[in-house]
Amino acid sequence: MSNLLDLLVAGLATGAIYALVAVGFMLLWQTSQTINFAQGEFVMLPAFLMLAVMHAGAPFWLAIILGILLSLLLLGLGFKLLLVDPMLRHGVLPLAIATMALAIGMKEAVKQFFSAEASPFPSIVPAGDVSILGRVVSLQSLGVLALAIAVVIGLTALLNRTSVGHQMQATAQNPTVARIIGVPVERMILLTFLINAFLVALASLLITPIYLAKFSSGEILGQAAFIAAIVGGFNQVRGAIAGGLLIGVVDNLSAAYVSTQYRAAVPLILLIVIILFRPQGLLGRPEERTV
């Protein structure tokens, strides 16, 4: 029990990052039936974009800004216009497969144009420890957690408190009706793609200092985000957030208490159980079915 607090904080910190990725994943599914199998690679790429800018001699803060802008351009606008738009009308599956191919392409491109080796990545949170309730907790974990929570609160506020947010929710729930009541559906869908790009860029910025920048690092992340989105509820922002936090904590605890070999199995088993017994997710609403 001695390091339970450490494990919880570390788990919540990674979980908060998973939550960011899961929320983006879920928004894409909701507004445009896109199951993005490249979501993990979407998190992997921005770190390399930022590194590339830094290699060109720019300072870290400029690299972050340019990295986020490039992510919005490539992973938001480019992804939507070049891949999703042409394929959407052909149903869910071909598009999902195309995103799998995209994941391979992104990994290979980073490997080829950057490096196959892991690169270190500067942290925006200073290293060091602080003392809470007499326990030493990593400042990095706390910083990541605080930042992720701030983003999640900001996003929830955007969705629930602003008229743009309401229009996005209407688009997600029923595009046909939304269009009739005058919501600019196309613009809202584009906005969700941009939000997703922003979230993955942020997640990239937060997680890369912990796990290093590597072309293959998206595989595990992407899977964690899927699991988080489903466990929490595929159709609710707060569900995806809760799912992300839960998976982060479960992952860290099972690494410590189950076995390092099978730590990855615990979230998967959780996923299977949830899908079988509560397919709408812990916080989700049942999806409407048409016979």
Binding site: A101, Q261, I275
Partner: protein, 332 residues
Amino acid sequence: MTATGKYLRIALGVVVIAALIIVPMNFNRYGLFILSQWAVMTIAAMGLNLTLGYAGQVSLAQGAFVGIGAYAAAIMTTQGLPLVAALGVAIVLCFAIGWILGYPALRVQHHYLAFVTLAFSTLAFLVFRNEDWLTKGIYGISNIPRPNVLGFATNRPLPFYYFCLGSLALVSLAMWWLIRSPWGRAFVALRENPVRALSLGIDTRRYTLMAFAIGSALGGVAGTLYAPLTQYIDPVPFNLSLSLDLLMMVIVGGSGFFFGPFLGAMIAVLLPEWLRFTQGYYLMLYAVAVMLLLIYSPTGILGSLDRYLAERRTKAASALRAVAKSRLETAP
């Protein structure tokens, strides 16, 4: 189908089969390895095509079944047991596990089913990696022998290629029989309209489970060929990306078309090799090619071909009608 069309098809089939037998005779070791791999992956993709293409059930676990088959073959044949015994074990094991994995399909559909099978796939990978006593973990199993088939040793690449090709032929015949049988019709009914299928007395539960079980068993068959092909296996090739690759093969080739997996496996196995001359770029180009292919023909190559032929037929028919009509009008 017209008579000439039928003869054309038969002629095409004969030419392709002859080419598959004759052309590789002077291939080098590597070329034969790649072609054998194509045959093995085609078998696995055919299994998935049954589950997904015919019966309409998404599965992201086919790679895990290839892994189960491969480990069964590797473990048993290195203990001196014949490959046929391993094949039997792999089929029974994969059939049973596939049957169990089909149960979630009775409760959930579509993306949920995809994620259950995805989770299974990753769990299987963890077992391959962690159960050292059985699978030798990350060190893998080496020196997997190649079988003697009807008294012929298949140690050399060419005989082993023929062994893979022969197996593919047998599996294809069995599959052809299956999809033309009442079962095949029931699978299609299950995919197209499960409610109506039920009302016609079709036990959709049993057929769903069968589609999973048989498709998975074919994954196991492919695995038992894969182990003696590479003669060394470790967990890495059987991770999630193999399942995703197999799914890609089925969709790209044309899901629900008999020859879809043959084409899909050709693209997934051979295209990267053809692109090798671009060195580090080959997988990237491959990914771009797959995306472009899917953008231009989302129903796969055979799906697009089918639509093209159907359109041409309608055009020809309406042209004929137009001619007949104009004749009637100009007739005195």
